[in-house]
Structures are given as C-alpha cells and as structure tokens.
Symmetry: C2
Subunit: 228 residues, 2 copies
C-alpha cells in the first residue's frame, strides 16, 4: 500500500551519521567557517553537531520561517528577529536541516550577507529536495528526488500531532469518530509509519491534543474535539 | 578502580528523556515561555527539544561561554555577540545543558533581562551540579551532587580529543610513547569509559589529532606530536 504522505522517520543515529558525512564534504572542499548560524528552528541540531565535527566555536541562530498570512492562503518566509552583528572578517556557514522550497534558507542567507557583511557566506543542509527547491545549498549530504516528509527526532511531538489532525480533517470516517485501533490503521496507511515506531510520542500526542480539546477521546473512540 | 575523571556518556535517548522530563516540570509549574533562548553552544539540543515538548515556536540563541584570558590562568564568562532584540511583552526561557559553575547561565540571563527587557526571564537546564554551582536554575531535571563530566552526544569528538590530550600531558609513560592498547587501558582507567563505547568517535579523534600534529601515531605507538 502506498502512503498518502510519504514519511521517513529519521533516527538520532542517522542525524549523527548525516551530520558527520556533511562535515566530511565541507572539510574536503578546503573551506572552514569561523561562525555557524543555525536557521531556527530546524537547523539547531545539525548546526551543533557540525560545530563538533568541524571544530567551530562560534555558533548563533537566526529565525527564518514560513508564515501563513492571515488573509491569504499563500505562505511567505519571514525573519522573526532580524538582529545585527558585525561579522566583517568572518566566513559564515548557515545551516538548516533540509531545503524544501528553499525560501527560508534563501531569506536567511540574503539577510546575513546584507546585514552582517561577512567575508563570505555559504549554506549547508543535511538534505536537499532537488525536485522542488529553488536553491541548491553549497553543501548537502543527501539529495532527495521524490518529495518525502523527513520526520526528524526533534519535532516528533509536533509532527505526530499534525499527522493525527490531518486525518481528522480529511477522512470522513475519522471525522465521525473511530475506535483507536481503526484510527491507528489509517495512520499507518496514510503515513507508512507504525504508531509503535513512535514510542511514547504516540500517546503523548493524543494526550496533548485531548488536553487542548482538539480531539476528544472517550470509550476508546477518537473524534474531533470542541476546539478542533 | 576509581576513574581519575568521572565521565558519564550520555545517550541521545537519555537526552530526549531528560528534556521530556524537564518539559513536564515546566508545564506543571503553570508557566509557558513565548521565546526560548539557547545558550550557545551547550543549550542548542535541549532548547530545540523543549520547543517540541512545550509547543514553543520562537527560538533564538546567545553565546555565553568561558574564555581563558591569555595572560591569566583565571577564566571568565563572556558574551560573544551581545545583540539586542525587543522582547518587551515576552516570557523568555534561557536553556542550557548543565549548570556547572553557573557563570555562563548567569551572564546570559542578566544580559537578556537588562538588554531585551522581557516581561519575565526564567532559566532551565537538564542538569544542575548543586555542589559547585553558584546559581540554581528555575527549572532543572537532574540534580548532580558529585561532580561528573557529562559527555553529551553533541560534543563527543571534542571531548574525546581533549581526553586523549590530557593523558599525554599528565601521564609520564604516555608522554614517552605507548602502544595503542596500553593507551586505551589508561583511557578506560582514567575516565571509566571503554573506547569501544565511543563508536567511530575514538578513531575519528585519533585521526583529527594526528592531522593537527598534536599526536603522532606510527607503528602503533601514540606519542605527543610536533604541535603538541
């Protein structure tokens, strides 16, 4: 059965392996950053690991992210806190987890170039979805050709919650209420992920959504909640 | 045999478990941050995980760290890039991995309070070494009573390299050169960690130190290198 939304659960070991591989590519290029800037929030873990593998002491972050404008369906990338530092003599490397559309990375890179005036800026990501991204990072470890949702371990609760809500929005049967086991089957069918692979996150997501009244869960039946 | 330097290798699973536990304590207190600020570099991974567990979108970092002044033996904490943002209406939570002396966390907290003028600042760390720290974080998951070097998974290459160099500096036999196996035995004796537990990091650290000429490694003998 083909998943409706292809999801790949990424393990911590894979994150370490990919960050190490990315560091190897950067080292081989003969270039070394003086400052690593994580794109918040996705770049935090890879940026920290790259500091270790590349022996880089200076580490900062800027927050570039998609923002759904209230009145429009369209999304655009914004910088939440466009602060300035003097990076005149520095080689800066901007790090994110994945380049999907490329909007957030591009915005972060252009801002740092223009406002921090570093000697040089390069970009590095663990993954690059080449079929949809409008920019290619200077360094990447994995080129992804078919769009996939990479479920990184630092956003497991948020993603699991979103996955559950999406089923409730889009599946007729779920909307009317389903026993947990049937709901789990739909989850596995849609995302290609067994709920047991999510460990404690599955129960934690259900509990969080129940507390927020986004789902109701009584007598073993999941349905949309009061604030769904 | 008692380790000369008590080291506890921390796994990724423990980091997730501790971050989740810390998030639970914060939630129970009834307080929720609007903005999480990671202390760079140690706070990056816990800060990102806390964003997931507490559903916090805003994430930044400031770099507060120990700095050995060239002319003195004493260390002091400095802020590398004391940038400013307007956080007037925000509850800010400053996150680090561990409070050891407490200098860096205190400096970061005082700076954010004074310069960003947030509505409120609280601090949260995975661990707190209560026997040496001069401040107690508002939230912590583990109180450590006997000083231990917690070897977090995001600083494994740096720490392994430092552990090796320390043996070469302080052990007479190692200074004159030792077969790798004997060197490994000293490592295990000093740090209470088997080199096999370090996975690929052991070989990676040796290779890095050899490339930097900090060690020499020929005919299976480790000794200080030209740039030791």
């Amino acid at each position: 059965m083909v998943a409706k939304v292809p999801v790949k659960l990424v393990s911590w070991d894979e994150i370490v392996e990919w960050s190490r591989g990315l560091a190897g590519i950067i080292e081989k290029s003969g270039w070394k950053p003086d400052l690593i800037v994580a794109v918040s929030r996705g770049g935090f873990v890879p940026a920290r690991l790259l500091c270790d593998f590349l022996d880089v002491t200076n580490l900062l972050a800027i927050q570039s992210q998609h923002w759904v404008e209230a009145a429009k369906a369209a999304e655009k990338a914004i910088l939440r806190y466009p602060y300035e530092i003097n990076a005149e003599d520095m080689r800066v490397m901007i790090v994110d987890d994945i380049v999907d559309t490329g909007d957030t990375l591009e915005l972060a890179r252009d801002f740092v170039k223009r406002s921090w005036k570093p000697r040089e800026v390069r970009t590095a990501t663990l993954q690059w979805i080449s079929s949809v991204a409008k920019i290619r990072p200077d360094y990447y470890y994995i080129e992804v050709k078919e769009w996939t949702w990479f479920q990184y371990p630092w956003t497991r609760l948020e993603d699991t919650s979103q996955f559950i809500l999406r089923i409730l929005r889009e599946d007729e049967r779920a909307r009317r209420g389903l026993p947990v086991d049937s709901f789990k089957s739909i989850f596995e069918e849609w995302y290609g992920v067994k709920t047991s692979e999510l460990g404690f996150y599955w129960e934690m997501a259900l509990e969080k959504l129940r507390r927020e009244k986004k789902i109701s869960l009584s007598n073993g039946i999941i349905r949309p909640g009061e604030r769904f």
